[in-house]
Amino acid sequence: MTEDITEAGPAAVEDDRDGGTPVPTDSVSVALDTVQGDGLAGYNYAYLDEHTKREVRRAMLKAVAIPGHQVPYASRPMPLARGWGTGGIQASLSILGPDDRFKVIDQGADESVNAANIRRLAERTAAVETTTDSTAADVIQTRHRIPEEVLTDDQILVLQVPITDPLRKIDGSDAANRRRHAHANYGKMWVHLYENVVEYGEINIAAAYPVMVAGRYLMSPSPIPRWDTEKLDDADHLSILAAGREARIYAVPPHTDVDPLAFEDREFTVERFPDQACHACGSSDTFLVEVSETAGPEADDGTDDESGTDDAAFETRYACNDTSFCAKRRETPDLPKDHHLDRSGVDWGPATPDHGDGEPRDDLDSEAGASQRGDST
């Protein structure tokens, strides 16, 4: 474990800019205590200095201008270990203003320690209000999910990105991959999909499903489930995807075509949960995760779904992965996902299974097998 840089105060953070020493995640609490003690004195508004925020916003503007293209930026050290959303938090802090309401979710849950830490950092340094209500937030920072409720053109979704380039699993050379992007030369990605079908009979990519953005750039939508992937297509909201460790930002502007890569005869499919409903709210049209009797919904990582189903000792139950929407559904069981809009029947991810095509549920575990295979090559 590295030294806790926050003890030395903001000056150390400044000096450490280029070093990028990762610090333990829990040190954010220490950082926050410091902030609380001195108030905002010694910290710039929204933690980052103005130059950094301008740099990040400039990268975002460029990203919006070239949808799906990865734009480099000078990623700063944050009081969080890299890989814990340092890209997302820099993006959020660069666009938040005092009148904004901020929501943070980690795999669908507002309550996770990470989400809570990021929320508090913004609350205390940027003086923003926070909320768990997806419809009330101006900026939503998220890891691994897009909310179940339809996002609007007043909202910005900031997705945390661990691995920016979908081509990297085919070729580790970033230089070669940059050339491929420059020329929209994605033959090798298609071979990956072809070999996927050879091995599994279908394209078996559970999360971070590769998409073409505006018919030009191949993009990883971050490790969201396939369930959420189509929400990016022709959306009303702006999505900013930010990676801290890799220092890259990319974007899907409103009303941009986002097409998952697939064959004409092996189409893109989403996860299905036939005959399953959330045990808490009864929803059957939300992204469900398996929860055991003992572990709460938030403890589930969303990928472990197949184990134990035939084990009589454990009763397997499903729960909404989006906890804030689940809470609303517990109040109002049939609350539509577009309840807050003037329009209804808004296209937002998969339809309810009952109205859907009734396809068999895909195996969420498959990515483990696929990526192991990728890693060994």
Binding site: N185, G187, V191, Y194, E195, V198, F263, E264, T377
Partner: protein, 276 residues
């Protein structure tokens, strides 16, 4: 009918100077310019290939065969300064000047290259089938069933065991890897295949079988080919016409049989005598 015509093809490694061309070549006995140290890998090369014809390029190691072959296959070489013109069919303009997209389209369509070095041509971690499929997918094929069917067809045609189709290419024998390269080159029915040293690294009996396969497929498909080899036997077996290269220049060209029986240039005579 002339399919491809090339004039004044030139590849220079290094800065180059005004004396380069005069100071190199067979008469000077070197391909390296004594003034500036640049290597004139090939220069002043003119040639043409007719539809369905096989042209051989033969010469000792370092004589510039691969450099010439790369130009003809529109392979971009970032280390070199290149020049000359390549005209193709009734397309207007010089193919060496086309933009990336046009070159990409030509390379996935009309003109295929089988690289001298397997690693330049195949992704060994992909399956053999995947390597062949890549050509189709790059050309825009989007039906899995169609791709699969075409790959199977090409495996059968180039005599690669079908049951190895889904194994990683690095598990293939050298001969099978060569066949995968040929299958890949044939995938989109090109008009011209450039083969650079198709038998490098294979033992003699395997060499003969790979060449037999290529000759059969080449005739069945009626595809034109440029076959590059330092081995006269390979060129004699496959080529209708042959160019002989030395120190970066074409020293002799003509019908393969004529060159073998009645070599005009001293160097060619030595080359043939040393083999026979």
């Amino acid at each position: 009918m002339t399919l491809l015509e090339a004039e004044g093809l030139r590849t220079v490694y290094g800065e180059g100077c005004s004396a380069c061309l005069d100071a190199t070549g067979p008469a000077e006995g070197t391909n390296q310019c004594p003034h500036c140290g640049s290597v004139v890998a090939c220069a002043e090369a003119d040639l043409s290939v007719a539809a369905g014809e096989v042209l051989g390029i033969v010469g000792e190691s370092g004589s510039g065969k691969s450099s010439l072959a790369e130009l003809l296959a529109l392979e971009h070489n970032p280390d070199a300064t290149t020049g000359g013109t390549v005209s193709y069919g009734d397309r207007p303009g010089n193919l060496l000047d086309v933009d990336y997209q046009t070159r990409h389209d030509l390379r996935t369509g009309e003109i295929a290259l089988v690289h001298q070095h397997i690693r330049d041509g195949l992704t060994l971690d992909f399956t053999g089938g995947g390597n062949v499929a890549e050509k189709l997918l790059s050309a825009g094929w989007r039906s899995y069933a169609d791709v699969r069917e075409r790959v199977e067809e090409l495996f059968a045609e180039t005599e690669i065991p079908l049951d190895r189709m889904d194994d990683p290419t690095h598990t293939y024998s050298g001969g099978m890897q060569r066949r995968v390269q040929i299958a890949r080159a044939l995938a989109t029915d090109p008009d011209l295949i450039v083969l650079d040293e198709p038998t490098t690294g294979l033992d003699v009996s395997i060499q003969a079988r790979v060449l037999d396969t290529f000759r059969r497929v080449q005739r069945e498909e009626g595809v034109a080919a440029i076959v590059v080899s330092h081995d006269l036997g390979v060129v004699r077996l496959l080529a209708d016409r042959t160019l002989v290269m030395r120190h970066g220049r074409v020293v002799e060209s003509g019908l393969t049989d004529r060159i073998m029986e009645d070599p005009h240039h001293n160097y060619t005579q030595t080359l043939i005598n040393s083999v026979l």
